[in-house]
């Protein structure tokens, strides 16, 4: 009897411990799930304000109803999504009414103007001013939100902690979130009462099937390996060559190599014709020794050496000690933007460390360029009157209907932002407007 009691107690304890542990596990899982929901809402909010800012900026440069109405509709949609995201956050007592008011006002303004026939009744000067102030207000809120976002990411702040503190009526321990939101609110309340309130990255336009048209003989694994070695300037040893799996758009070899200094590098080479699709070299880049300009010359020479003809640099940017460049084929006076590729060059030793050419190969073809119906001066008249043009040239771009069209490309600015605008060279239609991004402030 005496030995029976402790045994029962021990069993009970074990059962309780197990029960407690499962409870704890379940609670943890639910916490993570709740946290993920909050994180999603918050990061989406920041992103939506980013896009509101960009889209209003683009709208400022638009002159045709076909573009302006969708842009305004988009802002309207985004304001309502941002509203929605705010409502999913455990803000509790955090003041946020002014920001919501800003979103509400922007929503009203864009709705009003988007449903109107802008051909019949274009934006008035007053409305244009309102749009301008919406743009600058969005910028203020965007900046503050981004700095809150940075501290959330940097310090791994949990929204569940904020929610918990709110529920218990205490101040959350880390005040960055609270302070940040207070700042945003303050900015938003400074807006006067009377106020109503993507890269030139290489385009992905054509289907995968476009790669199938590449011509040439089939190559072997060994040939793929030696082609890859030619492209890498690191005297590498081939460690592995693997064939793509059965559903790849076009069969290719994936070649992995290791360089003399331990760099790992991989490259995809098509089986038919041995075309280089993409490669990267992963190495630690030391302090920059050559300039971005110098690196772009090296990239250019590399392209020439490997048979990419008439490629012109159309974008360049430095990220730490790596230069990233976009090159575009130029035929006569015309830039062929669909036939663009991206390259990386290490700024410490000038070696090419990456090439991404899948879209280039998809879009590459013989093109006959007809002479345009409009002159550059005629096309210029289609631009928004507040823009001053800095550069103009002929270019082919892919439009919304995924058709390649001949355009005049204008680089222009309106005092607050720079734009790249494509006007159809035959019918004067505004085919595309991009707000050119400026560098983002470091925090």
């Amino acid at each position: 009897m005496r030995s029976f009691t402790p045994a029962v107690l021990a069993v009970l304890l074990a059962v309780t411990a197990y029960w407690g542990y499962t409870q704890y596990r379940q609670k943890e899982a639910l916490m993570i799930e709740a946290e993920n929901g909050y994180q999603q809402a918050f990061h989406e909010l920041v992103y939506q304000v980013d896009v509101i800012h960009d889209r209003t900026g683009e709208a400022l440069a638009m002159n045709s109803k076909e573009n302006l109405t969708p842009a305004l509709t988009d802002v309207w949609r985004l304001t309502s999504e941002a509203h929605n995201a705010i409502s999913r956050l455990p803000l509790g007592y955090l003041p946020f009414s002014k920001t919501e008011e800003f979103l509400g006002n922007s929503g009203n303004f864009t709705y009003k103007t988007a449903v109107r026939d802008l051909d019949q009744e274009p934006l008035s000067d007053k409305e244009y001013e309102q749009l301008e102030s919406l743009y600058s207000q969005a910028e203020d809120i965007q900046k503050e939100l981004r700095s809150v976002q940075l501290s959330v990411l940097d310090k791994n702040l949990r929204w569940t902690d904020v929610a918990h503190a709110n529920a218990n009526g205490e101040e959350p321990k880390d005040n960055t979130v609270v302070d940040g939101f207070n700042n945003i609110e303050k900015k938003a309340s400074e807006f006067p009462e009377t106020d109503v309130f993507q890269a030139t990255q290489v385009e992905k336009s054509v289907s995968d099937d476009a790669l199938k048209k590449l011509s040439g003989e089939n190559i072997s694994k060994d040939e793929a390996a030696s082609i890859a070695k030619e492209y890498f300037n690191i005297d590498p040893e081939v460690t592995k060559v693997e064939k793509s799996l059965k559903d790849a758009a076009i069969p290719f070899y994936n070649v992995s190599v290791t360089g003399q200094k331990g760099e790992e590098a991989t490259m995809d080479v098509t089986e038919k014709g041995g075309y280089p699709l993409t490669f990267t070299v992963n190495r630690d880049t030391k302090k920059s020794k050559i300039s971005l300009n110098n690196a772009s010359e090296k990239a250019s020479a590399f392209l020439e050496k490997h048979g990419f003809d008439n490629m012109v640099m159309t974008n360049s940017a430095q990220y730490d000690h790596t230069g990233v460049f976009t090159f575009t084929r130029k035929q006569g006076d015309t830039m062929i933007y669909p036939e663009s590729l991206t390259m990386k060059v290490a700024l410490d030793n000038g070696v090419v460390t990456g090439l991404e050419a899948q879209n280039y190969w998809k879009n590459k073809k013989e093109r006959k360029i007809e002479s345009p119906a409009l002159t550059v001066e005629q096309a210029k008249k289609e631009l928004h009157p507040k823009l001053s043009v800095m550069e103009a040239q002929q270019a082919i771009v892919t439009n919304n209907l995924l058709k390649d069209v001949l355009c005049y490309e204008f680089l222009a600015e309106n005092g607050t932002a720079s734009y790249r605008i494509f006007i159809n060279a035959n019918n004067g239609k505004e085919e595309r407007i991009e707000k050119l991004s400026e560098a983002e402030a470091g925090y």
């Binding site: 030139t200 360049s316 991404e356």
Partner: protein, 249 residues
């Protein structure tokens, strides 16, 4: 003796002053759009001094610096190419003054200040690919590290590329956060590993993917064949195997 000391002191300080004055000279690189660093700070400060540049001195050669430089070149009878080469730099040096120590100290403090009556200067900026903020990159790096640390570099770029391909696809959310936090989409999100601190490799991989690299051939899914339990994922068209992951459409 004291006199001699005094003379030496004057001499030394004169040398110091002299070198300090000359320290702010351009290096001999040709500066082009997209560049970052000290030469860009000097370029912006000098263009601001001459009245051509009205934006922030932030150390990144962006579009507004580019227009300012071209306008300067045009007015000074130089070839208008938007590159700060030898001739342009010499003309700029003659036309402007540059107090390197002052400008840099203000930038380091991240303090808004006015330089030569021009616009404000804030903390040094960084290049980010169009359409993405530094925070987007950070969030993606978290996801890539949580999902694919220990994978080869190509495999990390590939995971980042899948996130981007999903953003571009109509059947997935349209934002970085939307895709990453979609319930049950990524195991690292479900088990909290996304909050591990990512390393530099993960960040580099994300930057490559955003700049256009896609080693997956436009994949939307990936899975580990050793641990995948769903039949459905095995039925997806497979494109390529990288490290432990099979990437599919």
């Amino acid at each position: 003796m004291r006199k001699w000391k005094k003379a030496a002191l004057i001499c030394v300080s004169a040398i110091l002053l002299f070198t300090a004055h000359h320290a702010g000279a351009f290096s001999n690189q040709v500066i082009q759009r997209g560049a970052e660093g000290d030469d860009v700070i000097e370029l912006q400060a000098r263009l601001q001094y001459t009245g051509y540049y009205r934006d922030q001195i932030d150390g990144v050669f962006g579009w507004s610096t580019y227009w300012a430089l071209r306008n300067f070149q045009e007015s000074f009878g130089l070839p208008v190419d938007g590159l700060a080469g030898e001739d342009t730099k010499r003309k700029l040096e003659r036309a402007s003054k540059y107090d390197e120590a002052h400008v840099k100290s203000q930038i380091r403090k991240g303090r808004s200040f006015t330089y030569y009556g021009g616009a404000k200067t804030t903390a040094q900026s960084v290049n980010t690919p169009a359409g993405f903020s530094q925070n987007d990159i950070q969030l993606m790096a978290n996801a890539v590290y949580g999902e694919a640390r220990g994978e080869p570099y190509e495999g990390q770029v590939a995971v980042a590329a899948v996130i981007l391909n999903r953003i571009g696809s109509e059947t997935f959310p349209n934002t970085v956060a939307g895709v990453i936090f979609e319930p049950l989409a990524f195991t690292a999100v479900a088990d909290g590993q996304i909050w591990l601190t990512p390393d530099e490799t993960a960040k580099k991989a994300v930057l490559d993917a955003i700049n256009g690299w896609d080693p997956t051939g436009e994949a939307l899914y990936y899975f580990n064949p050793d641990t995948a339990t769903s039949d459905w994922i095995w039925s997806r068209p497979q494109i390529k195997k990288i490290g432990q992951h099979i990437f599919c459409e």
